[in-house]
Amino acid sequence: MTDTASRELPLQEIDEVIIRFAGDSGDGMQLTGDQFTSISAALGNDLSTLPEFPAEIRAPQGTLAGVSAFQVRISDFDITTPGDAPTVLVAMNPAALKAQLHNLTQGGALILNTDAFNERNLEKAGYSSNPLDDGTLDDYRAYPVPMSQITRDAVAEHGVKPRDAERSKNFFALGLISWMYTRPVEPTFEFINTKFRGREQVINANTAAFKAGYNFGETAEIFEAHYEVKPAPLAPGEYTNVNGNTALAWGCVVAGQLARLPVFLGSYPITPASDILHEMSLKKNFGVRTFQAEDEIAAAASAVGAAFGGALAFTSTSGPGLALKGETLSLAVSLELPMVVLDIQRGGPSTGLPTKPEQADLMMAMYGRHSESPLPVVAPRSPADCFDIAIEASRIALKYRTPVIVLSDGYLANSSEPWLLPDVDSLPDIGVEFATEFNGTNEDGDGIYLPYLRDPESLARPWAIPGTPGLMHRVGGIEKEDGTGNISYDPENHQLMVDVRQAKIDGVDVPDVEVAGDVDADLVMLGWGSTWGAIDAAAGRLRDDGFEVAHVHLRHLNPLPANLGDVLRRYRAVVCPEMNKGQLSDLVRARYLIDVEHFGKIDGVPFTTGEVTAAVRKRLEELSGSN
């Protein structure tokens, strides 16, 4: 950037780097990571991100509880996960170092803001001696940088108060990392200008801090090289970078367009689902009505009301909220009205780990309602897939007039990846027709409307909305007579209705599963939802090591794809990695009597590729030993 580059450092080409920015929650690490991601995306790298926030909004400064981190992996090849362990850790203070050092690969690079390593901060982080010089960092390549001081000096001329000056130090870090990985600087200047529009002083300070960081890399003579990660061979086209929650929100908005129905979202704020409510609230120009309800029950109930009125209705939440919605969902099952529930799973039980992912709501989604209350369940496999899954869930809901649960999780919610934008014209038409005419006759031969007269194929009931002349009818949670929908306590009718509600869900048109990888392998990895990236990457590693392994990943969890049993039976071993105590494993075992081997982990951290690889490799070795 400076035209007085003092020395020529070698430029090394590397195929990937995994950087983790870590600092105090007030240090702007998410912003820094986001911006680094954007620049890298524009350069054509493949990438995957993993933000990590503390559960508290303003945990005490400088403490372990207050550490906020953002991991980004960029590569010149196709990747599906944010990477197991960072190769570069940027630690803005001792707490960040303490909380994150164990993640760093042996020999990894460590960029430290030495100014923050004062006695007070060391104590707050629980260090009894200074890790900068007590040998703690011997296994790593540590680069001490007085970030606060240089930032203060750099911004001084812009008239920023010393106290505020330091707030630009995340831009110093971004500048330094941008230099290290030869990222262009212009996009960041533009970003700063847009982000802080109207606040000249802030713009100048951040720009100066960024430049100082960049120049520091070039001139400080502490780095041996800088690096280049070439673009990945991504499919040609137009890309954007989305996280799962944004993609899910957009999917809901777009589903309304594809169905030509107004969208309604009833929601009550809860981590990690709130951003869906936020994002959809910004889309009012699409006719999207968002309703921040008084609780999750009202959120679900309002969606039922909106659906009765003819809207494409959604309700978004996380596990504790889904528990509250149970009775209302069972009402929707009984009323046979379309609606989509977005459950962004988090660690539990109870409040559990609000900001950490888990896949332990599967059984609740399947069975967490009283009585026989079946409904379809689907799960996205990647952040971008969240867009498609919202449309697929809406399609099923509308076609079969049923509530559908989408199981995303805190990992997909916040993790992002490049998304090849779909051709808008190729998106499916998911529109359905409202009933507008009589569909039966009474004893006198007069036309009548039978709200529970089903389509013989889909078993869906007609959907007549208020305002339609002549089709006035009442729906309710009390058992209904087949056809008329009138209250009925008749035993045979109840049996029939229970059977038919089940048959309708069992008959949902779900595509067959496809086997990825080595179809003829001995072992198949069975996954669902967000574990896709780690399982897929593990399959790649195992194959590189000469193993054969297959991968089946479920997007539809209820009903299960028709060929699933047959496919799984072809393998000697079925290993199911999931972030729970064996919920999909149990479902598949019960359903197909297949001895699924559960491989679980519930520590609030997504599976790493290494973990899946190791577990499956062990199993593969056993299998080949027993050949």
């Binding site: 995306a41 499919a235 309604f264 120009n285 039922v304 009301g305 009125g309 934008l421 729906v475």
Partner: protein, 339 residues
Amino acid sequence: MTDTSITPTTQPGDWASDQEVRWCPGCGDYSILTAMRMLMPSLGTEPHNTVFVSGIGCAARFPYYMNSYGVHGIHGRAPAIATGLAMARPDLDVWVIGGDGDMLSIGGNHLIHALRRNVKIKVLLFNNQIYGLTKGQFSPTSEIGKVTKSSPMGSLDAPFNPLAVALGAEASFVARTHDMDRQHMMETFRRAHEHDGAAFVEVFQNCNVFNDGAFEGVTKKQNRDANLIPLKNGEPIQFGADGEFGVIDESGCARVVHTAEVGTDELLMHDESKHDPSTAFMLARLARGPFEPTPVGVFRAVRRSEYAMASTRQLAAAQEKQGPADISQLLRSRGTWYV
């Protein structure tokens, strides 16, 4: 008050569904149903533009008996279901029917929030001071000490005053009527219907099986003169066969007096449009229970921004500012790059 310009296009019979009404013989719910069916033709609405939404309870069976659209929901959640419906379809007439348990116990939260939001729903609370459908447990409006199957030694719970709850929730329309006076019910429901916002009406309703005569002290013909205080907008609050009783504001408390002793001029003038709800609140709390002089009629009717329309205005404003729905633009809103 009655709008005579409306030529009815329906008859009361058009509003009756083909379902057999299954309340106990003699239940007060019947007379409320009749009043509603008789009122409907004069409101200028059509059955297909009308929706009755309810929760669970005897009262909540109401939608099945009206030949309109209807949702018989789940216990307590009717105001929330109706809120979603009214937001999605501001063009409809949405009525919410429920009992005292439904709306003040399990659904109390939804009721107060629907009222404070002022979403255009007409909430009729059939107060029988008992859980009817579950066969007679005390309810949140039962008097303290009530002996029921679940309170053999008398209930310990102090009751809610439904009108005070509604007023506390900033309801913009609050009224009370009773199942023994069809005309009064019809007039009160009409006023609720005309109100542009959430309307809350408490209906004293006799459960002749589990709490018979709970309101007799005020609603029985021979007790009405002495114990029913009809609120008339713009008139002094006066009751008794010859207006011999009246209500005064005694430093913030409503008190019943002999009109002759204070003079008509000293009586409280009823002003339902008063923005400050204090007077309405004071009147709502005049009677400690349905055994002493109790006001009926419209306590409060004030104008306040209606929720669904306000939401519609936001949609329009967003369209104006962000332009019409454009999927392609949406997908590019976070910036894109080409590979």
